[in-house]
Amino acid sequence: MNAVVATSVFAVFMVAAVALGLLALRGRGKGGGLAEWSVGGRSLGPVFIWVLMAGEGYTSFSYLGAAGWGYNYGAPVLYVVAYMSCGYAIGYVVGPMLWGYARRHGLVGITDMVAHRFGRPWLGAVVAVLATVFLLPYIQLQITGMGVVLSVISYGAVSLNWAYFVAFAVTTGFVVVSGLRGSAWVSVLKDVLVIATLGFLALYVPLHYFDGYGPFLDRLVTEKSDWLTLPGHGGGGSGLGELWFISTTFLNSLTVVIFPTTVAGYLGARNADALRRNAMYLPAYNVLLFVPMLLGLAALFVVPGLAGAESNLALFKLVVDSLPAWAVGVIGVAAGLSSIVPMAVFMLVIGTMWGRSVLSLVPRLAERQKSAAQVVVVVAGGLALLLTYTAPNTLVRLSLISYEGMAQLLPMVLLALVWRRLTFRGAFSGLIVGVAVVCVLVFSGNDPLGGVNAGLVALAANLAVALAVTFAGPRDPDPRPDAEVLAGDPVGDEDEPLAVTRAARGASDHRV
């Protein structure tokens, strides 16, 4: 009976999510090229941008991995809060910069930004392939996350394999057709549910199990105090000390601003000011990330002895144990949508990168970038689903590899846009070295290296090589002026329509 109730609630909301995603296109007709699909026609206002970017950042990790980390280690999991806050803050500068660059040159993602900056279309293709490799594990992560959630909240009635497929089907169901705009709409439903369910759980769980926060915190402090500071439970052996926290937060806060999905959100904005306002409001959302960690800690007392991947279920064990089936269903929906929205944007971004930067190199496909991108979405999602069936892995490590790899794009994407002297050879050699170092360190089990995040070590090597090669070699023979190649610092200008500003400036110049 429980299974039927919870699963029905879940099913109803999933259908609603797909419908909402498709409704997003109502009144917009079938037209619109790649930019309409990939970046919502650059027309989303501050509210949608907030909802979408909050939605992307708050993935299934928040319900599963975060609670699992809270359960296993405690405080170290707060690096997520730290890097998202720092990253959102510097997004205040970087967001408008990338937005302005993309709009001025009609670009839809980091791959064609790189191609434009260095005047080499094939470089965009290389970056697209690389970024896809780093993003695929992320899609897989969302598929597994949703699978686990659905299987648990259906009280085991839905098998993992079917649950994985549902995740793929629901996401593909709307994102292929409605792109970024659809993702933003579904994100509205998601954020409402996430805020409501986590807010509720934050109050309910301590009351239900511990008679309130006072006794709960008392027990935490007296019995589990090693969970409450870094390096967390397990001591130095976990490798999650202060140095790890600082280096990981620093690296991830830089990476998150150029992460292809974040950039998709930036580029969807109607104007730069929507992004600046967003940078102000978005960090507040991170308060919610404390909740899964607290619930993970609460689970230490209620369901002790969870081991390995099971600890990721710390939060849901409490939910299933203490709430009626319909509520379990609703919380499952919130967690499920937390898989689906980010997954949709991941798939969308992969599609966009391939449609714009890889397949467009084939002359026959250059005119049909949007259709090509939509096909790639299904292929990428299908591939991730296949990997989920054949090569499953545990949650958090995967996302760390993705991040550390993606971080290596920082010099090529971000530094290159503000520093003209950086040569193609420099950036490219740096990227190769950086990615190689990440792979070696991570796969040889040396992450963190001496307490420092391996991605940061790799980024240092990457940057050193990029600078050395740049200064040792000749300047790039690129005749275009700086204004054409670099990203500006567009504060103030772009709040009005571009034409007006230009006309006004022209007029005032004339007068002077």
Binding site: S85, D218, L230, M280, V287, F290, G492
Partner: protein, 81 residues
């Protein structure tokens, strides 16, 4: 890059979260003193999370003031001509 900081020193506010979360971490990585029963590190990080929007707001406020000042100047210049 340093030119940008000179023109928009308010961008330095955006480093506030880095200081709060990372810079002072070695000093706040402790359970006591408890604040309303909460371990100190959690209280600190929660505070940092609530102060980050304030830091961004300070940058934005200064940017808006700069913009208004520039507009006034442009307008006055236009008026004189």
């Amino acid at each position: 890059m340093f030119g940008v900081i000179r023109r928009r020193p308010q961008l330095l506010w955006l480093l506030v979260p880095y200081v709060l979360y990372l810079g002072v971490l070695p000093f706040v990585n402790r359970v006591t003193p408890l604040v309303f029963g909460m371990p100190f590190l959690f209280v600190w990080l929660l505070g940092a999370t609530l102060l980050t929007p304030v830091a961004v707001w300070l940058t934005r406020r200064a940017d808006l003031q700069d913009r208004d000042r520039d507009r006034d100047r442009d307008r006055n210049r236009g008026g004189r001509a």
